[in-house]
Symmetry: C2
Subunit: 424 residues, 2 copies
């Protein structure tokens, strides 16, 4: 395994200061250039590396694969399907190829010309074909805030919350990659004092700051993944912006959960950062009290220290930070979520996506949604350009960034950005 | 368009009395024989027709397709993607080829030997790759029964129910085809008088009698399908058994909806009956009062008269009918469901599946789930072998059948059957 926190590793590809993509990261994504179809890639610094070109030149010939077709696919699913041992071998191989002390590729100008692209010259695509998408609700601060606002301030958490990593199925068709533009959705809403619902664009457009993991294993129906094996079934993670229409949600969600208030669009960061690359940043998580049922018991460092930030950029203005949070606040971790998802025999596929739920911290500036940040619109936020926000306005761009850092090594995700267009 | 209720049409393939598959039906499915990979097929009587063989012999050469690859795929998605005009042309072509008055194929013994299979010699597979699956909740009798049992008998329907075709996203990975065996799921449940939840096999295993439609159109994000165009985007229908674990559901479903109580398995009938074949069986539906919002207003005969039946077959016993219902009872129809699904700009894909929700009628013997039939277990049902059922027992096989009939023509779905095995 690559020591992702090993600061001694240096690449012959230049890596700017504070880049999310040093040689310790080696994330995976799908890119296309002006002249090429979408193909698997990795990124070092501001350079995108076309894995299909490296495959062409035989660099992946001795990794135990039957054939090299996974390096030419338009999604990462076939590459991921090769399993966790292969993920490690591939990252190790790439780490060697781009190590400044290694001359295997460094000296081959012709290959470099074909395989390396400046990041601003390429287009990024959905990294995986998502079969099923689950959204969890695993931040205790977020669940508590929502409970305080909409239920009982003194009894904010529902009785099942500390026993179950509560989750629900979402729409996979509308998960898109950073850079998207999404129209404000229309739908039914009903004011508390109205007799009947009305129809129109949502007035309470929101984001939810989440991370999502992508599974790297296919199971059969009836099969469960034990909590202590769950991380072997997780390929990596992305930033996940779960766009939400709060007024539509309020009117529709009882009794079967959120539906049209969520399924019009979710936005991920384009590079999947592997769980392996995030290992050095593990930390203890919140204590779970009362004790969880045995199938959810996790031993070891439960959480990962990933710094999170949300910014809003008005049409003509500059970015303003509206939230700083951290993935380490999660009450339920990814292994617990996946063990729960499959404990009833529900089968999973390579490329499934699992959102964490909104990640809020303890302080009001760490809440992961406008609903919480503006406390239902009662406390407007001031942006750097002087304008105010209770919720998201038309032509605002919502940007989420995430990175882990330790011992001078930073492993990050880049960003998830989406511009909100007026309703059609 | 084929006149699906035209009793004059007769096939040269024998069709037994009361068959669901006369020449007026022409459904589509995916089959494999001992020597062949899964391929698209249709069925007449008890004969399965391999469409890839008919394509080989040039019968589909003049239908305006760029190539014939859709007839060789392992799922129907590429065939369906050709659109509603093509669906009509293809059904018309097959209707001609198998018409007793047509000699084009009837006399070609060599082709018939390669293309026709007795239904009991083949295996049926999932007809489509399901991208996203939505489950609606559109039977007023079912929603009322559930409301009476779990909320307020005098105020059973929730305030949003008559305004919204309430629905939620489900798990597409665990939708399987008739003939499956599914293990009783395990999960968390909590008795009302218990302090904490326990873990074990569900004690309240249930079915839900549903129909599902399959979309035949891909839309872009931001696009809505108006209610009067929705049926052009629907390819056809199947029987849908939404297996449910009522005790797991009760503990988990607030506030985000059913999750593990539903996602361990759903079972469909293998033949997709086209909406075109079902046109002759349209009927008025229940009046909608109060009036629905304009985007949900449907004009014309809203419903389809499809007779539904559920049977339970104990391990060593015979089938007993436990429910007789009808698809015509639905309060919200498929066009309204699809218009609602997309009104916020949610994009759909070819092969998506949309369940109706449990279809209950007015009388206690027409309720579409054991929960309602046994009224929460308070009124056990007696089977023909003398045994009793409050819910489904291990080794029971649940069988659902459905057909429409008018003017002596019967167009049916065959069956959805699933055997429930003990928990692992």
């Amino acid at each position: 395994m690559i020591k992702s926190n090993n600061p001694i590793l240096v690449s012959w590809i230049p890596v700017p200061e504070n880049s999310d993509f040093p040689i310790q990261n080696i994330p995976f994504g799908i890119f296309s250039s002006k002249n090429s179809e979408p193909h698997p890639a990795t990124r070092i610094g501001n350079t995108v590396v076309d894995l299909s070109q490296l495959a062409d030149f035989g660099f992946f010939d001795r990794m135990g694969l039957k054939d090299l077709s996974c390096f030419y696919a338009s999604v990462l699913n076939p590459l991921i399907a090769n399993g966790p041992q292969f993920w490690s071998i591939l990252r190790e191989k790439l780490s060697q190829l781009f190590n400044i002390e290694n001359d295997e590729l460094q000296g081959l100008e012709e290959v470099k010309k074909l395989a390396l692209f400046p990041v601003n010259s390429v287009e990024m695509h959905m990294p995986v074909e998502v079969g099923d998408y689950t959204d969890f609700y695993s931040s205790i601060e977020h669940a508590t805030n929502v409970g305080k606002m909409f239920r009982d301030p003194d009894n904010a958490l529902l009785p099942n919350w500390k026993h179950i990593p509560v989750g629900y199925h979402g729409r996979s068709s509308s998960i898109v990659v950073s850079g998207a533009e999404i129209h404000r959705p229309k739908g039914q809403t009903k004011a508390d004092d109205a007799d009947a619902p009305g129809f129109g664009p949502t007035k309470l457009f929101d984001f939810e700051l989440e991370m999502a993991f992508i599974t790297g294993k296919k199971t059969e129906m009836g099969e469960s993944i034990p909590v202590d094996k769950a991380e072997e079934a997780i390929f990596g993670m992305v930033i996940f912006n779960d766009l939400s229409a709060r007024d539509i949600q309020k009117w529709e969600y009882v009794p079967l959960g959120p539906f049209l208030s969520k399924n019009f669009g979710s936005v991920i960061s384009p590079w999947i950062v592997t769980l392996e690359a995030l290992q050095p940043f593990r930390v203890e998580g919140p204590e779970q009290e009362p004790a969880v049922l045995p199938y959810l018991e996790y031993s070891g460092e439960k959480n990962i220290d990933i710094k999170l930030e949300v910014l809003i950029k008005p049409e003509a203005g500059k970015e303003s930070t509206v939230c700083k949070s951290n993935f380490k606040y999660m009450y339920w971790n990814m292994a617990q979520q996946l063990a729960h998802q499959t404990v009833n025999g529900c089968n999973i596929n390579v490329g499934d996506m699992y959102g964490s739920g909104t990640i809020s911290g303890h302080t009001p500036d760490s809440y992961g949604s406008m609903l919480e940040l503006s406390w239902k619109g009662t406390k407007p936020l001031k942006l750097d350009d002087g304008s105010e926000r209770k919720f998201v306005l038309d032509n605002d761009t919502i940007i989420m960034r995430a990175y882990a850092e330790k011992n001078g090594v930073r492993v990050g995700f880049g960003e998830s950005a989406v511009k909100i267009l007026p309703a059609i």
